[in-house]
């Protein structure tokens, strides 16, 4: 067992709101500077850049989960993590089908850039990623679990797009094992305002859209190895 410094919510150039500086090499370099052991690339509603980041991170000695920040029908943001490319891509295909076919307007929302290992632009994603998929919260958590992933509601203390902002309080759902919180979340104030959150372990992440923010929020997790099985074991035991 060892301690792993994790930042499990980082955007890449593929997120329309993510800066174009969020390329694989630059992100991994910053992750090394912040001494992160484990990261996850979590673009909005797509994992199209996850494999590239995983490979570039691996060369630098960092484990990168395949990740995604899903926006559910209730406009709740949920992080989905995977440690297996095949499972991740199978989930990603279903997710893409659940995303409405509305084209992105880059001038308004920003560019959605898919890159390769050498940072060449492979293509621009045409569908608007800043949108809700046609799955509700329960369906989303269930589908992540069914595909061998680990899901948790993102930045629950945020006043927009969070479990608490959209649903008022944390609904009973056995698939909610942990709650994501923002980099700047004051735990004491948050738990005083929402005592029901004390039943869950909190996972602090940066939600970085810019290089400077990588590692601004992190969680040290005790586990044998960075894997979905370990995350599930750790967060089931904490409950």
């Amino acid at each position: 067992m060892r301690q792993w410094k994790c930042d499990l919510h980082i955007h890449s150039v593929l997120s329309p709101c993510g800066s174009l500086e969020m390329s694989p090499t630059a992100v991994i370099k910053r992750a090394c500077e912040e001494k992160l052991d484990v990261i996850a690339i979590t673009d909005h509603n797509t994992m199209a850049n996850s494999s590239v980041f995983h490979r570039v991170a691996e060369k630098a000695g960092i484990f990168c989960f395949w990740g995604v920040e899903i926006q559910t029908m209730e406009e709740i943001h949920v992080i989905g993590l995977f440690d297996d490319e095949e499972k991740a891509m199978s989930f990603d295909r279903e997710l893409y089908e659940a995303l409405p076919p509305i084209p992105n307007d880059p001038d308004y929302f920003g560019d959605q850039v898919v890159v390769d290992d050498e940072e060449n632009i492979v293509r621009c994603e045409e569908k608007a990623l800043l949108n809700s998929v046609m799955w509700d919260l329960d369906q989303t958590l269930q589908s992540i679990d069914d595909h061998g992933g680990f899901g948790f509601p993102a930045h629950v203390n945020a006043t927009t797009y969070s479990l608490i902002s959209q649903l008022g309080f944390i609904p009973p759902n056995p698939l909610i094992k942990a709650l994501g919180i923002t980099a700047k979340c004051n735990d004491d104030e948050f738990l005083a305002a929402f005592p029901m959150a004390a039943r869950y372990p909190l996972i602090r992440n940066s939600d970085a859209h810019y290089l400077k923010d990588i590692g601004s929020g992190f969680t040290v997790i005790d586990m044998e190895e960075p894997s979905i099985a370990e995350l599930k074991r750790i967060y089931a035991a904490n409950k």
Binding site: E74, D136, L137, Q166, G168, F169
Partner: protein, 118 residues
């Protein structure tokens, strides 16, 4: 001005999905429109008819907390059976209407003979 909920359900071409004999005893004194449950918890008032498209189970708990006696789901968005059951346990009337939240709100305003407040 109190609202006759049975009549209003007809006006909005709605269907009551929580059958009850108590409909006539429900006193609606105003309305609230929101799909954010944190917003409803903080701002809706006792006796208001809540018009929404949010269909998570939490709507019933939030309505109960806020003292909302009846909820209208707009655009024919029908909640699942678990939500209907919970509403019946809590004594909250659920109505599904094919109209939009805007249209339902306008009709509610007209029926309550309200004037916009500044």
């Amino acid at each position: 001005m109190k609202l006759d909920l049975v009549k209003f359900t007809e006006i909005i071409q709605g269907e009551l999905i929580t059958p009850s004999d108590e409909m006539e005893n429900i006193a609606i004194t105003g309305g609230y429109v929101s799909d954010l449950l944190s917003d409803v918890m903080g701002n809706a008032k006792d006796g208001q008819l809540w018009i929404t498209i949010m269909r998570h189970l939490n709507v019933i708990a939030v309505a109960s907390l806020a003292g909302i006696p009846a909820i209208v789901f707009a655009r024919n968005l029908k909640p699942e059976a678990a939500i209907i059951d919970k509403a019946q346990q809590e004594g909250i009337a659920l109505i599904v209407s094919p109209l939009t939240t805007f249209e339902i709100s306008g009709l509610l305003y007209r029926e309550l003979k309200l004037e916009p407040t500044s």
